[in-house]
Amino acid sequence: MNPTPSFWASVLHGGLQGYLLVGLLLFVIGLAVVLLRRSLLMQFMGVELMLNAANVVLLAFARWRGGDVQGTVSYLFIIAVAACEAAVGLALVVALHRHRQTTDADRADALQN
């Protein structure tokens, strides 16, 4: 469990491990946003960050396979689905605000109990 000097060189000069670290940290920050913030809009932004983290790792591995085109095609499909998710998710937040005048996750607990 002790990183070698070559690991830090790889991170500093943009090796595969550097991209993996950026993707992992981005995912964890997105997870923290979803777990710690109460506003539904903030949680939505956290989900977008996690999607981006997955994309960074996907395209990093695609480059280390010699610039695999399949990685970019998968990325295309992922952002198409992310755009759908953004449209429907924001529509749900707007509809919730119309019914209950709130965007707070704690106040939108009608299904609880």
């Binding site: 000069h13 994309n55 429907v88």
Partner: protein
């Protein structure tokens, strides 16, 4: 260059986590997305970098900021009740997950021994188009249908009752 873009990305994400104002948080997210698109450029993938800026910074963040201003919810509402246990638990879970994953990447001999294939020139739209329309035509059409369904669904959800 890699370090610059990586720091932009992570600094934007951290600023978003700490931002009190939702508009500021959205702008920090734009910074993150620009950092990520810089990383894609460094990976020799200008197609993904352009798509990242157009779709994320251009469409999704603008939609999000539009909703924030439409609902006039610039600040988070006051908490109904303090939830110290949940907050500490989730912060700990996120920190442990992050530290554990970073340690795994740092110690993994598998990742280190992955061969680095030489890059065959930067990604071009031509290459992407060939693969997309020769091997993934059905999935492409399905994605188009999914976008249409999401658009109609979003309109139906926000429409006032008739």
């Amino acid at each position: 260059m890699f370090l610059t873009f990586a720091l932009f990305t992570l600094a934007g994400a951290l600023a978003m986590l700490k931002a009190r104002n939702l508009v500021v948080a959205g702008l920090c997210m734009v910074l993150t997305f620009f950092g990520v698109s810089g990383l894609y450029l460094l990976l020799g993938n200008p197609v993904a970098a352009a798509l990242q800026i157009i779709v994320y910074s251009g469409a999704i963040v603008v939609l999000l900021l539009f909703v924030v201003m439409l609902l006039n919810s610039h600040e988070e509402e006051a908490p109904l009740k303090a939830r110290p246990v949940q907050r500490w638990l989730s912060a700990t879970v996120a920190a442990v997950l992050g530290a554990g994953a970073c340690a795994l990447v740092a110690s993994s001999t598998l990742v280190r021994s992955l061969p680095t294939l030489p890059l065959e020139g930067p990604m071009t739209l031509q290459k992407v188009g060939h693969v997309l329309f020769r091997e993934h035509l059905v999935a492409f059409e399905a994605a188009g249908l999914l976008l249409l369904a999401a658009m109609i669904g979003a309109i139906m959800i926000v429409k006032k009752e008739v």
